[in-house]
């Protein structure tokens, strides 16, 4: 069994670093430690993939279409503003 070095990350620490890793704000040495942990840990690799998937899924939400009534109201708002301008 390999001795656990003080500088090795454990899973519980790795999950707290995911956002900083994805944001690119980890120091170079912290990034290397994080990646070294991932290389030996399928669970944390899966966890990182799930965080990326979470971001991707929320990024695919789309606003609902305006109702035709709301659209008319906004056209009115715009026209009122235009007439104030003149």
């Amino acid at each position: 069994m390999r001795l656990l070095l003080r500088r090795d990350l454990v899973c519980q620490q790795a999950v707290e670093l995911v956002t900083e890793y994805l944001e690119g704000t980890l120091s170079r040495s912290a990034r290397r430690r994080f990646e070294a942990h991932l290389a030996g840990c399928p669970h944390c690799t899966e966890y990182l993939a799930q965080m990326r998937e979470t971001i991707s899924l929320t990024g695919r939400l789309e606003p609902e279409d305006l109702t035709s009534q709301m659209r008319d109201e906004f056209v009115d708002l715009y026209r009122r503003w235009r007439s104030e301008q003149q």
Binding site: T19, E46, Y47, L57, E62, P63, W81
Partner: protein, 198 residues
């Protein structure tokens, strides 16, 4: 100023109704969701968003393009929502003590004892079938207000961290902590949703 903003401004200033309506189509609903994280009710959120659209029109002549039109619009919204809303306590610092994954899922050495269950393919399938988006909306709405605001702007709207910091008047560090907590919470909700489905 960005070229797309320059063109849009020209059209808005010169009376192009369609330009205004397409802007409203892009941002009305996202602004409602964001406003709701600051104010106590949907009705108040709607009022704040209406006011914001009027403020946009009235400010068009003076807009100088130091930020993108989108960032400017969302800043107007947040300023108005903050003045109106009572829910947000700006003075409370972003606390950072709680772990984002329940500590019972790790063993004494900090390794996974109850590792993440796989759900990515299941979620993709259900999103494709149109059966997941409303759940994700509901989960985002359950996030604490400040995490919700950051997740909405960063991940739903796709703004950069700089833009989000400018819109919400947050430091980079606080923005990142809120983003981390919000995203981690959502990941957990996905895992819970699909636990045992396989």
């Amino acid at each position: 100023m960005m070229e797309s903003d320059r063109e849009l401004l020209l059209r808005l200033r010169s009376g192009d109704e369609r330009a205004f309506v397409s802007l409203v189509e892009c941002y009305h609903e996202p602004m409602l969701h964001l406003a709701a994280s600051f104010v106590p009710s949907r009705a108040v959120a709607e009022e704040v968003v209406q006011d914001t659209w009027l403020a946009l029109l009235r400010g068009l002549e003076g807009f100088e393009g130091r930020s993108s039109l989108k960032t400017w619009l969302f800043r107007i919204l947040v300023n108005r929502a903050r003045t109106t809303g009572s829910r947000e306590q700006r003075s409370v610092p972003v606390a950072d003590p709680e772990p984002v994954v329940d500590s019972s899922r790790f063993d004494g050495s900090g390794s996974w004892a109850d590792p993440p269950e796989r759900w990515i393919e299941l979620a993709e399938g259900r999103l494709e079938a149109g059966k997941l988006a409303y759940r994700i909306r509901a989960w985002i709405n359950q996030l604490p207000a400040r995490q919700r605001a950051v997740v909405l702007l960063r991940d739903v709207e796709g703004m950069s961290s700089e833009e989000v910091c400018a819109v919400l008047a947050l430091s980079e560090g606080n923005q990142r902590v809120l983003l981390h907590r919000g995203r981690s919470r959502l990941r957990q909700l996905f895992e819970d949703e699909f636990r045992g489905v396989r």
